[in-house]
């Protein structure tokens, strides 16, 4: 579905290789500045790689026009505060752009589709609300609704849970996961919380300093603890609970025998 071959971008990404299969839910995990977002933008064609290439459905991304790309790849940015207070309906209709001519505007049929998508996300009550009046979680789902209207097979989400409370993090990810399943979408999302990554992903890709450190099966990986400690350079433990791995940071807490003054002894993790 989506293939990355020997991709390098400036000093940020180095020789990244990655293959995504249809219907897969892949999470990119890594510390700030590791290059997750840059990789996402290379996948979208927003950044042109210095070396290597990206193939979408077997076609090189660089040979596609913006419009063709928009029909294959849907981008869901981090929720932000908009400049202009469009209504939810006006805003999600922008997702129909890749299916419209240059001078045409969305019509009745597009509006029906928009309402359907909003209903499937449980947002029908927000149709006429203004973007500026929504909570962060609602706005994130509205951005997802707009992406759904592109009717693209591949979704790229940049930290969809950033700045959300626990409830809304789960709500957003559950919704994305459910719709991806229903519609057979391929999803790539960057996340910061390894627990959420293990809970929702089919595959977790660890990125450190612009390179892929490892790819993990989230349910079971013999070196999971070692890899995550290397990734984040902090001491942590992985416990298994009801078949799910749980990342525990108690080792790093002050007063804990593994943390506190012992922390210095583990200095090699501080990189």
């Amino acid at each position: 579905m989506l293939e990355v071959r020997d991709l390098s971008f400036a000093q940020i990404l180095q020789e990244v290789n990655l293959t995504l299969h249809k219907g897969e839910f892949v999470v990119l995990l890594g510390p700030n500045g590791a290059g997750k977002t840059t990789l996402l933008k290379c996948l979208l064609g927003l950044y042109t790689p210095t070396r290597g290439e990206v193939l979408v459905c077997g076609r090189p991304l660089k040979h596609l026009t913006y419009k063709e790309r928009a029909r294959l790849l849907a981008y869901v940015p981090q929720s932000y505060h908009p400049v202009f207070p469009y209504t939810v309906l006006e805003f999600v209709l922008l997702g129909r752009t890749p299916h419209l001519g240059f001078l045409s505007r969305p019509g009745k049929r597009d509006e029906i589709k928009a309402r359907e998508v909003l209903r499937s996300l449980g947002l029908e009550a927000l149709v006429r609300r203004r973007l500026t009046d929504l909570s962060g979680g609602e706005r994130q789902l509205v951005l997802f609704a707009r992406a759904l209207l592109q009717e693209a097979p591949i979704f790229l989400l940049d930290e969809p849970t950033a700045n959300l409370d626990l409830k809304h993090q789960i709500e957003v990810l559950t919704t994305v996961h459910r719709l991806a399943g229903e519609r057979g979408l391929t999803v790539v999302a960057t996340l910061h919380d390894p627990n959420l990554a293990f809970g929702f992903a089919d595959r977790v890709v660890l990125i450190k300093k612009g390179r892929i450190l490892a790819e993990m099966n989230p349910r079971k990986h013999p070196r999971a603890q070692e890899l995550l400690e290397e990734l984040y350079e902090i001491p942590l433990e992985i416990l298994y609970f009801r078949g799910y791995p749980l990342v525990s940071l108690t080792g790093a807490f002050p007063g804990n025998p593994l943390g506190g003054e012992n922390h210095e002894n583990r200095g090699h993790f501080m990189g």
């Binding site: 790309r69 940015p77 932000y80 202009f84 209504t87 752009t97 001078l103 045409s104 969305p106 609300r129």
Partner: protein
């Protein structure tokens, strides 16, 4: 919170109808108002005489004043008002900044320099032609300076607009300092904006570029919604951001340059009208652009009518628009404290 919900489509339609009707009515009533008093029937009669060659028994003197002086003046104010307001709305979208003014691209300073040069040294060149050419030169200069930083970004364009305007205005001041005081008065009046010298000739020169530019902005109104998004998002939706943004700026420069050439620098209309319309119907450019054209036309015609009837003098219309614009923005500032700014 019902007040936060957009009015129903029916309510919106009513607001649109109100804005369009009020603008047309304001223009018609302005045609009827002049030194000879308020004569609402006269405009229709003259149109009857002029367009269908009917006979109404109006004295040739009144007919002449009405058709040769007042009508072109009102038409020109309507054209310039529509041009300033809709290009203001369009530029606010592409710069993602509701405080952007259509003169941002250096057009006003360029126009002023053209006027000053023509008045000081080129008596044979019409002021409007010089202003028109210099306004475009200034817009190109702004774009060129913005390109020096590599990529033409929003912030580099705003900065280069400020730089170019400041540089050109310094040259205007230099000319004003050197030129003889009688001629300086002409430059000063021009810079305050006025329709006092409107003739059918000016209307004929102004109409083609303004009509072309307005048609373009109208056709691109949905694209403006897209261009008002962060660049990466617009691109990911299939928009060629640089090209489309350049097209919008070109159209805005076309209409504003023509407006500057016709009437000088009329402040506040391009900034104020889009805010006013957004307060009423929201920011969707599919509505905002056409309604800004209507409101801009109506507002500038009314302002110009005030300018010519309020006192015994023919005041520069820019003074009227500034005096009405400033209280409006103070009102917006007050709204901001209660959270209303986002609608503006």
């Amino acid at each position: 919170m019902p007040s936060k919900i957009l009015p129903s489509p029916k309510g919106l339609w009513r607001k649109e109808a109100f804005i369009v009707t009020a603008s047309i009515l304001a223009i018609y009533l302005s045609l009827s108002l002049g030194p000879a008093g308020f004569k609402p029937g006269l405009a229709l009669k003259v149109l009857w005489v002029k367009l269908w060659e009917g006979d109404s028994g109006i004295s040739p003197g009144i007919l002449n004043i009405f058709w040769e002086i007042r009508t072109p003046r009102v038409l020109l104010a309507a054209l310039v008002g529509a041009a300033l307001a809709s290009s203001g709305a369009a530029l606010q979208a592409v710069f993602r900044n509701p405080l952007v003014d259509p003169y941002l691209l250096g057009l006003s300073a360029g126009g002023a320099l053209g006027c000053a040069v023509a008045v000081a040294w080129l008596p044979r060149v019409p002021v409007s032609l010089a202003a028109f050419l210099f306004a475009y030169l200034a817009a190109f200069l702004t774009y060129g300076v913005a390109r020096l930083s590599g990529e033409v970004s929003r912030i580099s364009l705003i900065l280069s607009g400020i730089i170019v305007s400041a540089g050109l205005m310094a040259l205007v001041s230099l000319i004003k300092f050197m030129v003889d005081p009688h001629r300086m008065a002409e430059i000063v009046t021009w810079m305050m904006g006025s329709f006092a010298l409107s003739t059918w000739e000016v209307v004929k020169q102004t109409f083609p570029p303004v009509a072309l530019g307005l048609a373009g902005l109208y056709l691109l109104r949905f694209r403006l919604n897209l261009l008002s998004l962060p660049e990466d998002e617009a691109r990911s939706l299939g928009v060629s951001v640089e090209k489309e943004r350049a097209a919008v700026m070109g159209l805005a420069a076309l209409v504003v340059g023509a407006g500057v050439a016709a009437a000088g620098i009329v402040g506040w209309v391009g900034l104020m009208v889009p805010h006013l319309v957004r307060l009423s119907v929201g920011p969707d450019h599919r509505r905002l652009i056409p309604l800004s054209m209507c409101t801009g036309a109506g507002l500038l015609v009314v302002s110009d009518t005030l300018a010519r009837t309020l006192t015994a003098f023919d005041l520069p219309v820019g003074i009227i628009t500034s005096l009405t614009g400033i209280p409006f923005f103070i009102y917006l500032l007050k709204q901001q404290r209660t959270g209303g700014w986002e609608y503006a």
